[in-house]
């Protein structure tokens, strides 16, 4: 049992457990599952004097403190999963990314993630898992285009700079 726990989990365990986050979060806390909105709340918390409507108008990040608590939990869960519940801690990125070009890729990729998820109104959690579960057409469309973007990068952008 314990050995099995320490190995990477098969899809038929992982997938349902990810999906179960939706009802667990709703029933225990009333929160809709989603991650990327935390970027906005963190930004608003860090820039209290911003004049940008997105970070200030009719909006107080303190009303969304739960979003920040949730992502803090995800961070702690990452530690627990990798160091306490794994036979050996994994590294999840190719070694290439520790190079100057790799760092640029991680930063630019991050910009695309932050801008894209906020413009799309959600990420793989909020749209793909939560939104499609709630039968939102917008979430299905967003998810299709997540894959379009991913295919573009994987087939045409990554080959330009990956060794």
């Amino acid at each position: 049992m314990l050995e099995w726990l320490l190995e990477p989990w098969p899809w038929y365990v992982s997938g349902p457990l990810i999906g179960l986050t939706v009802p667990i979060l709703l029933l225990l806390t009333g929160r809709n599952f989603g991650i990327s909105s935390s970027l906005r709340h963190l930004g608003a918390a860090c820039l209290p004097n911003s004049k940008l409507p997105y970070l200030s108008k009719n909006y107080n990040w303190r009303d969304h403190i739960g979003s920040l608590i949730f992502v803090l939990g995800v961070l702690i869960g990452g530690f627990v999963g990798n160091f306490l519940l794994s036979a050996e801690p994994g590294s999840f990125l190719p070694a290439f990314y520790a190079s100057p070009l790799g760092v640029v890729g991680l930063f630019v990729g991050g910009i695309l993630i932050g801008f894209g998820t906020r413009y799309a109104g959600g990420c793989t959690s909020g749209h793909t898992i939560m939104g499609i579960s709630a039968l939102n057409v917008s979430s299905l469309v967003a998810t299709i285009f997540f894959f379009v973007g991913g295919l573009i990068s994987t087939w045409f952008v990554l080959p330009l700079f990956l060794p």
Partner: protein
């Protein structure tokens, strides 16, 4: 927000972080294999997650379930606008380059993959760029949706 609600939120976050790591969906290699169609693993994970989520949301709506604190559960409708397409594509490009979406960024930092801090700073920068350009980007809603009225998925 009650203290109990805060603690439960933190605990569910920890649960999700553990599942992200143990499922390997935070791995760049898994994401790369998915987009090269080398391995069905990610597709099976995503589809089974959606299946479980969909049945759960259906049951919660059907029985008008309440939270353990007795509050009604409100399931958000997400607006359908050009951002789903344009923003979605842009996010997808970042996802494939870094191998991470927002949830995994946090989980990976917690898992000691500190290079992901760079992606996190990038994501905050991207969020700020969105805030800066928001008024100049198209946001016209395409369809006004009624709850549960669609055949998506």
């Amino acid at each position: 927000m009650t203290r109990k609600n805060m603690i439960l939120t933190l605990l569910v976050g920890i649960y999700f972080g553990i599942v992200l790591i143990k499922s390997q969906v935070i791995s760049w290699f898994q994401i790369n294999d998915m987009f090269y169609f080398k391995d069905p693993y990610m597709y099976l994970v995503i589809c089974s997650a959606i299946a479980v989520g969909m049945v759960s949301v259906f049951l919660i709506r059907h029985f008008e379930a309440r939270t353990i604190e007795g509050a009604p559960i409100v399931i958000k409708q997400r607006p359908f606008h050009p951002g789903n397409v344009i923003g979605g594509t842009i996010f997808g490009m970042g996802w494939a380059i870094t191998g991470a979406c927002p949830g995994p960024i946090y989980a990976l930092v917690g898992a000691g993959n500190f290079l992901m801090v760079i992606t996190f700073i990038g994501a905050m920068t991207g969020m700020y760029l969105y805030a800066f350009f928001q008024s100049r980007l198209p946001h016209t809603e395409w369809v006004r949706l009624k709850p549960g009225s669609t055949g998506a998925g």
